[in-house]
């Protein structure tokens, strides 16, 4: 396969009617051959961004370059970008074989391969996506995971320099989903096509992407490797969206964060005075026998104990402090914070 081409997006804005724009000045530079996740809550603009890259949607402002070529005015059918739709959009009246062959058969005669060559390429692709036995079936006769593979083969048939996938695993069961995402990552490593995929599932993005672009309200909030996002979140939104931290409101005064009415000791922070948010991972919120909180639930996942404690009218996720071996539901306890990340509260 050809070497992938990078994507360069600058100042992309798209507005649907009145109200908040779907995209608001998005900048994104994807290196060639990279595997990038567009992650964000629903309504954050990630699918719109993907559709603009494919030429299915049009920006009000900004520029898109694929492999250095400006895409303004290039219609979808001339872009040669591979697109896998969320619900696959397989042609329901065509067999799997005909679906995959479509992109080759609609080429102008001069560039259209001979029918024997088309057949060979289709069979290669079906073998590549590991469903060679399905070629005579119709889309409604195969499973969701199989449809996903066929949709991918169809998109790859036109040898795209860029592959776009919209929620590629969204419609699948949990187990199929996990298998398929690892398989897709492996396929990417073999083909090396620059790939962008949209997801709202952070585990999925963390598991397979080289880099993750986190979107919120039509902006890219942070674009970084998974570990970097986790270790150095740019703001409270990123910190809150990733991981399942406890979000604790507090007030900073003179370098000390105070959590009242929660029964927690104050903590030193470098934030200026004012309201703030502390993100505390469950493993960093420690419960020991004492007063102030009550254990509401105890769960053992095979490696460690997880607690749910009630404190100050809230439910928090915590871990037993070292030495407290057998916390039980109803036990009174005291809480302390081993580690927290502070952000000034947004107005």
């Amino acid at each position: 396969m050809t070497a992938g081409l990078g994507v360069d997006v600058a100042g992309l804005t798209r507005r649907f009617g009145a109200g908040r724009p779907a995209l608001h000045g998005v900048d994104l530079a994807v290196r060639q051959g990279e595997f990038v996740a567009l992650l964000g809550p629903s309504g954050s603009g990630k699918t719109t961004l993907l559709r603009i890259l494919a030429g299915l949607e049009f920006p009000d402002a900004g520029r898109v370059r694929v492999g250095g070529r400006d895409m303004a005015g290039v219609p979808a059918r001339a872009r040669g970008v591979g697109f896998v739709f969320q619900h696959y959009a397989l042609f329901r009246h065509m067999t799997v074989f005909e679906n995959v062959a479509f992109g080759l058969r609609v080429r102008p005669r001069a560039r259209r391969p001979a029918e024997a060559e088309i057949a060979r390429r289709v069979r290669d692709l079906l073998a590549l996506v590991q469903v060679p036995e399905l070629e005579r079936r119709y889309p409604e006769q195969i499973s969701g995971g199989q449809r996903q593979r066929v949709a991918l083969a169809r998109a790859l048939a036109i040898e795209p320099p860029l592959l776009l996938l919209d929620e590629p695993f969204g419609a699948l069961d949990a187990q199929v989903r996990k298998d398929l995402r690892l398989w897709l990552r492996g396929l990417h490593d073999r083909l090396g096509i620059t790939t962008l995929f949209v997801t709202h599932d952070q585990d999925e993005a963390m598991a397979i992407a080289d880099r993750i672009a986190l979107l919120r309200d039509g902006r890219v909030v942070q674009f970084d490797a998974p570990e970097a996002l986790f270790e150095h979140p740019a703001d409270a939104f990123v910190a809150g969206f990733l991981g399942d931290s406890n979000r604790l409101p507090c007030v900073v005064a003179g370098g000390l964060a105070c959590f009242a009415p929660l029964p927690l000791p104050g903590m030193a922070t470098s934030l200026p005075d004012g309201p703030a948010l502390a993100f505390v991972r469950p493993g960093a919120l420690l419960a020991a026998p004492g007063e102030g909180a009550v254990v509401q639930g105890v769960r053992h996942d095979g490696r460690a104990l997880h607690l749910v404690v009630a404190a100050g009218g809230r439910m928090l996720e915590a871990a037993p402090a070292p030495g407290w071996d057998a916390p039980r539901r109803g036990d009174a306890c005291a809480l302390s914070i081993a580690e927290a990340r502070f952000f000034a509260a947004q107005q």
């Binding site: 494919a54 030429g55 299915l56 949607e57 049009f58 219609p75 979808a76 059918r77």
Partner: protein, 277 residues
């Protein structure tokens, strides 16, 4: 210049909209404009006079009265047929289902002569009714009513059917578990859910019936002031080369019909509080 135009990756918007607008303007809008403008050429007073003559008023009264009555009769009959088609399984159901569309497919003139043959004083149905009960149907307003019930019935069946099919059986079952009797479940759960569709069917049946011509003129007898329908009066005016008068009656029919349909729409909104934004 392309500001209002949707940008889309799909081709052919300009072409298809252009063809549609051309087709629509030439075939529908231009002719209807003639209808809207012609009545006034002899002055407003004369247009008013041509629709308020006793003969015209009688015809309009018959057309609208019979159409409203027929649509009202179509509602229970249509509900009954839709109910049976959706809820029951019986031999010949598919045939019965196809039969419902007969008035859509049967040319109106054929329906007209057939109904007349049946209900005329010497017809299969007309003769026994006349002999035993002294009823006359053909060549009286009752004949008009029967023809209009015939043409309007499929509209009610076909609008209620899909709603009835989508009505979850759970709603009735839930009513039963809450202690409702069968009749209560029907009256309080099923009928309110069907009411908007029934009303839509009523509106469609009325709209069709009020302008109906072919199936009515044979059975009506066409006696001025008694069994003469408004569309026939238009034909008569045209034969007298009174274009303005014909257009005036036509326009009056359209305006009155739209008035009724607007009322149906308004009632529709009241019936569907959940659809109100």
């Amino acid at each position: 210049m392309t500001g209002w135009r949707p940008r889309s990756a799909l081709p052919g918007f300009g072409l298809s909209l252009g063809v549609t607008l051309l087709w629509l303007s030439a075939i529908v809008l231009l002719p209807l404009a003639a209808l809207a403008l012609r009545p006034w050429e002899l002055g407003v007073a004369s247009a008013w006079e041509s629709v308020t003559q006793p003969r015209v008023l009688a015809a309009l009264r018959l057309s609208f009265g019979a159409a409203l009555a027929a649509a009202a009769l179509d509602v229970p009959l249509g509900l009954l047929i839709a109910w049976v088609l959706v809820r029951y399984r019986f031999p010949g159901r598919r045939l019965a289902d196809a039969m419902v569309d007969l008035p859509f497919a049967l040319p109106t003139a054929v329906a007209g002569v057939a109904l007349t043959a049946l209900y005329a004083p010497n017809g299969w149905v007309g003769e026994p009714l006349g002999a035993s009960l002294g009823w006359r149907i053909a060549f009286t307003p009752w004949g008009v009513l029967i023809a209009l019930v015939f043409v309007g019935l499929p509209f009610v069946v076909r609008t209620v059917e899909p709603v009835l099919r989508d009505l979850p059986a759970e709603a009735e079952e839930a009513a039963a578990t809450l202690g409702a009797t069968r009749a209560q479940a029907l009256r309080r759960v099923v009928l309110p859910a069907l009411a908007p569709a029934l009303l839509t069917g009523f509106g469609l049946a009325f709209a069709r019936a009020v302008g109906e011509y072919g199936s009515v003129i044979f059975i009506a007898g066409n006696l001025p002031m008694l069994t003469e329908i408004a569309p026939l009066l238009i034909v008569i005016r045209l034969e007298e080369f009174d274009y303005a008068g014909a257009a005036a009656v036509g326009l009056a029919m359209l305006v009155l019909a739209f008035g009724v349909l607007l009322a149906v729409n308004a009632a529709q909104r009241r019936l569907r509080p959940w659809a109100r934004a």
